[in-house]
Subunit: 318 residues, 2 copies
């Protein structure tokens, strides 16, 4: 009899859900909107209802479900499934895990969304089978997940692996959403790349980035494209961004000594144009023995990383 | 019947050894010289012989020994007890653990010396019972040990928690023994403090540090003493050193989210004169939620941390 995990990846606008077989194959996936009204209080019931509906569609027996692995963007007590805070969703001191378990009748495990993505890549993606892994997500912000001794690091109060908030510019750095300045996220996120692009072109009147700014929105992709085409301002931005990111990852690697470093998120679509300078910078700042142990890779599971990580969370813990 | 662990802390000049009861009490401790001749090949036999001798002295039955936990300053494969390299001792590709086990007839577990000190503090010292702990040793160099999810981090090839080699000065930093520049060890070790003191006094002709330099050796202790007495150059050095160290620890804490940060080694004898500015700097650079979770403390076990950590290594693994 085939059994199933349920993965639930809760984001600010949608909840991604999936039925996943024990070998990791997704047999069904779907999304529901995240209802953030009333501090997101209806979300557990919305998820439970949607799961019941899809199970009925597939005539799936309750006995076949091994558990739910859920991720949320915030500070999670993984032992209890309690959410200290998940700003984008509206939760604060919200007893999510037990609530979802009561509503569905299934055991529920909860973790931070970035940790779940790291777990997904660790099970079936670019970090397959690594006992030591650093996963970095470069999107609007910079997220991180760390696996050491084969386990996700959560830390004393759920803030482990918040790589976006490593200080990379001790003085005079840009302000970060977290209240500090000079965080990695202010430099090496898509937002940071655009900001540096805009600052940089003042010194480069000939830069091909100018039209992008005039016509509206400059994107991180535009900066990478211009850099590929030889634009000096863009090349300078990519150099800076990868130098700082490589140093931050090297410093993390000195703590963790990872076998693999997996880069995901929108910015990772730049592929080798990101990885090559990044790896060069990493090897400059890492201990040589630490660098020897580690390779880089682009995340392989895309938007499915969260639900697959959720399935793996159940697989590891039940 | 009382059982015993044996702790062995192997350093460049002496091997510290101890019989330790299951409750952590040291019943006997002694040292033997480290014979680094012939690439340290006699060390396992020297240790085995000395243990046999002390057991005979105490008429201790072989059956009472639960195992040996040994630490060495180098890169260790903790699964096998194999030493990749321990420069100060002369070992390279040395199958230490199995060798010592064959010679004594006891099971042997091996780890890096800084990790062992962290384990000792975690069992009975300043980091007692913490599942997330960062231990930093400020001596001639800067060593580190990390405990996460209740386990020591060793990493993919034994270089985890090499905190002394975090890059804190990306450009123009002083050269480090590891071959990089700008490592934490170049700034916040006893050696780094002295170096900065010597550099600093050029700008401070009235500094009370001048006589120390003239009469011979300036020490880190002298810099702390002068700082306490109000010397401006010394205060400046201590400010710099603790600012950089606080940032490096905060960046580590963002990976680990520790409950406790334990500072040991010779420099930690400065006590609150070190801890107060250090903690202030840490709280400036850490995420506020990460900072909330953590307190600082001075290491409590002194020179016994290694052998007690060795005992704990046996206790945890056997």
């Amino acid at each position: 009899m085939e059994h199933y995990f349920i993965g639930a990846d809760i984001g600010g606008t949608t909840v991604k859900l999936a039925f996943i077989r024990e070998d990791g194959e997704i047999t069904k996936k779907w999304e529901i909107p995240t209802n953030t009204e009333k501090k997101g209080e209806s979300i557990p019931a919305d998820i439970a209802e949607s799961i019941t509906e899809k199970m009925e569609e597939d005539r799936m027996d309750k006995e076949l479900i091994l558990g739910i692995g859920a991720g949320a963007p915030g500070f999670v007590d993984t032992k209890t499934g309690y959410i200290h805070e998940a700003v984008n969703i509206g939760w604060k001191d919200f007893n999510f895990g037990p609530l979802l378990s009561d509503l569905t009748g299934f055991p529920v495990w909860v973790d931070n969304d970035a940790n779940l993505a790291a777990l997904g890549e660790n099970w079936l993606g670019a970090g397959k089978g690594c006992t030591e892994l650093i996963a970095v997500t470069l999107g609007t912000g910079v997220g991180g997940g760390i696996i050491a001794n084969g386990q996700v690091l959560n830390g004393a109060n759920g803030t482990a692996a918040e790589l976006g908030h490593v200080t990379v510019i001790p003085e005079g750095g840009a302000p970060c959403n977290c209240g500090k300045t000079g965080c990695l996220e202010t430099v090496s996120s898509a937002t940071g790349i655009v900001r540096r692009g805009k600052e940089m072109i003042g010194d480069y009147p000939e830069s091909t980035l100018h039209p992008h700014i005039k016509t509206g929105a400059l994107t991180a992709k535009d900066v990478f494209e211009a850099s590929k085409a030889g634009d000096e301002a863009a090349k300078q931005v990519i150099n800076e961004v990868t130098d700082v990111l490589g140093m931050a990852i090297a410093n993390m690697a000195i703590a963790i000594n990872p076998e693999k470093i997996v880069i995901g998120g929108g910015v990772s679509k730049a592929g080798d144009w990101l990885l090559e300078p990044l790896e060069k910078s990493y090897r400059k700042y890492a201990l040589s023995r630490t660098a020897e142990a580690s390779t880089f890779g682009i995340a392989e599971l895309g938007n499915d990383a969260g639900v697959i990580g959720g399935a793996y969370l159940v697989k590891k813990n039940r």
